[in-house]
Amino acid sequence: MGAGRLYLAVAVGGFRRYATYRLATAAGVFTNTVFGVILVFTYLALWEERPGLGGYDQAQAVTYVWLGQCLFATLAIQGGGAEKELMERIRTGEVAVDLYRPVDLQLWWLAGDLGRAAFQLLGRGVVPFLFGAVFFPMTLPTDVGRWAAFTVTLVLAAVVSFAIRYLVALSVFWLLDGTGVNQALMIAGVFFSGMLLPLNAFPGAFGEVVRVLPWAAQLQMPADVLMGETGVSGALAFQAGWAVVLLAAGRALQSAATRRVVVQGG
């Protein structure tokens, strides 16, 4: 009870913190919209040449693009969510302050990041998506059940996304600086989550591997559920499985990390 209210308060705080920066949000909306337009025309040219690539028709490819732009900031696909702040706090030793609190470190950051994701979805993601739906042909479900399932996949995608970034952030306890892992995170995130090209379109064994990595839980799964390309229960199980594994790994790494928190001085 009490704990639920605490983490809800943290999530609300996370939402409101990002809501403070209105100009940045507006700029983000603009960027995602422009990028969406560019990608849509690129995809259309590609699907013209290779109809049915990745099992998608043109309208599905367009839908995929706009969903990608919608979730780009929401899932912090190239980083820039809670992990960025956590890395900085570890680097400066400020994380000690977090440890003095009667809270669970991982749940604290998860709640804050989900609050951030909720804001990024509503404040930054919805507009490009609606723009796409108005100006381009898209494949969207008409039944409520599919939308509900899609919403659940979004929540799980946000949890998996956080779990990956939390692991990366904790590495700073050992590496002492997050610049390198941040870049790796960014490249891996953009590529493996299918921001450039749907993972379904990746050929051969490489495609098989990419489709079972945790990044596939971020954009590919919600997209396929939304467009009816995959079974709902299988997608949810895939996401939930990765969420549990990665959160558990984060928890293990966290207890190892907090034992050496002293390293960063003062």
């Binding site: 009490g2 209210r5 605490l6 308060a9 943290v10 705080g13 409101r16 913190r17 403070t20 920066y21 030793g93 400020e94 000690a96 302050v97 440890l99 003095y100 609190r101 009667p102 809270v103 907090t258 034992r259 928190v261 002293v262 001085g265 003062g266």
Partner: protein
């Protein structure tokens, strides 16, 4: 058993293994004894200064007392709780303030951080309201509650942090450099508040600082740590005696003159018409000034209090003399 000790530290030590690169793929392991068998007790309601040079082990001790570090040896209890085993349970009973760090939400108004504390420490609504009102009044936060923390001045933020640490009525408050970087007015305000907190609510306070005035104005007892060892535990006055601390009289004369002779003061520096005279802290400055003024053309003067680092440095470098000093009213010199 039976004594009033609120914080009990018995032979506590902390050893770190530090790995250092000594070449390509070659690592050297080194053991660093950050805290070396220290023991002390702090009674409920005491206000204790905990001082020592940088790297002496102050922060390590505080981290062990709050449970985020596990001691390598010895026994440690705060309010009867073993901190590292029950960090979360203990967290409800302690407050921590870092001068150089903040617990507040940077982007949001101050009040949002307080609402979070309300949930975090599960403070009953009535008590939260009451404590918030009291802290807001005592720390002068009325006009700041709706201001985002990033827009607060350092002094304002510090007061905001102190309030955040006290909303849940902690029994002990750890303060790490609470006045660092603050202007004179802000320092005075924070100190006055702490004095009142201690007097009225009996909150036990452990204060780490480099500012001698913090200690002088707040603490009746001082503990000095150096190289991981507790080297002094007792009254502040005793520390001056042990450290043979000196004050500095700086005089501006009308013109350049040969060094002034006024034993026991001695001139340590001459720069044109300005001279620096060091004299024992126990001597009266007034008498010395009168003597100097009697036969020298004085234009201006100032007296500088010894800084704590200097006192400690001198104390640590004269073990032979300090060893003779320990008397009951002076305090223990351990080393």
């Amino acid at each position: 058993m039976g004594d009033e000790a609120f914080i009990e530290v018995d032979g506590v030590e902390k050893v770190f293994d530090v790995r250092r690169r000594t070449g390509f793929l070659k690592r050297e392991r080194r053991r660093v004894q950050a805290v070396d068998s220290i023991s002390f007790r702090v009674a409920r309601g005491e206000m204790v200064g905990y001082i020592g040079p940088n790297g002496a082990g102050k922060s390590t001790t505080i981290k062990m007392l709050t449970g985020i570090l596990t001691p390598s040896g010895g026994r440690l209890r705060v309010a009867g709780i073993d901190p590292s085993r029950e960090r979360t349970r203990l967290a409800h009973r302690i407050g921590v303030v870092f001068g150089q760090r903040t617990t507040l939400w940077w982007d949001l108004p101050l009040i949002d951080s307080y609402r979070l504390m309300h949930r975090m420490y599960r403070i009953p609504d009535a008590r939260y309201r009451e404590n918030l009102d009291r802290l807001v009044e005592l720390l002068g936060l009325e006009d700041l509650l709706e201001v985002p923390v990033r827009q607060l001045s350092l002094g304002q933020r510090m007061r905001g942090d102190v309030a955040a640490a006290l909303l849940h009525d902690p029994e002990v408050l750890y303060l790490d450099e609470p006045t660092i970087g603050l202007d004179v007015m802000s320092k005075a305000r924070v100190r006055a508040f702490l004095r009142e907190l201690n007097a009225e609510r009996g909150t036990t306070v452990l204060l780490t600082t480099h500012d001698l005035q913090d200690i002088e104005q707040l603490c009746s007892r001082v503990m000095v740590i150096d190289h991981g060892r507790l080297v002094y535990d007792g009254a502040l006055a005793g520390l001056h005696e042990v450290g043979e601390s000196e004050r500095m009289l700086v005089v501006d004369l009308e013109r350049e003159l040969p060094p002034i002779e006024a034993a026991p003061a001695r001139v340590v520096k001459v720069e044109g018409p300005r001279q620096w005279l060091a004299f024992p802290a126990s001597e009266s400055a007034a008498a010395l000034v009168a003597r100097v003024a009697a036969d020298h053309p004085l234009v201006d003067l100032s007296v500088r209090e010894p800084d704590i680092e200097a006192v400690i440095a001198r104390m640590l470098h004269s073990p032979a003399e300090s060893a003779q000093v320990p008397r009951e009213d002076v305090g223990r010199v351990i080393s």
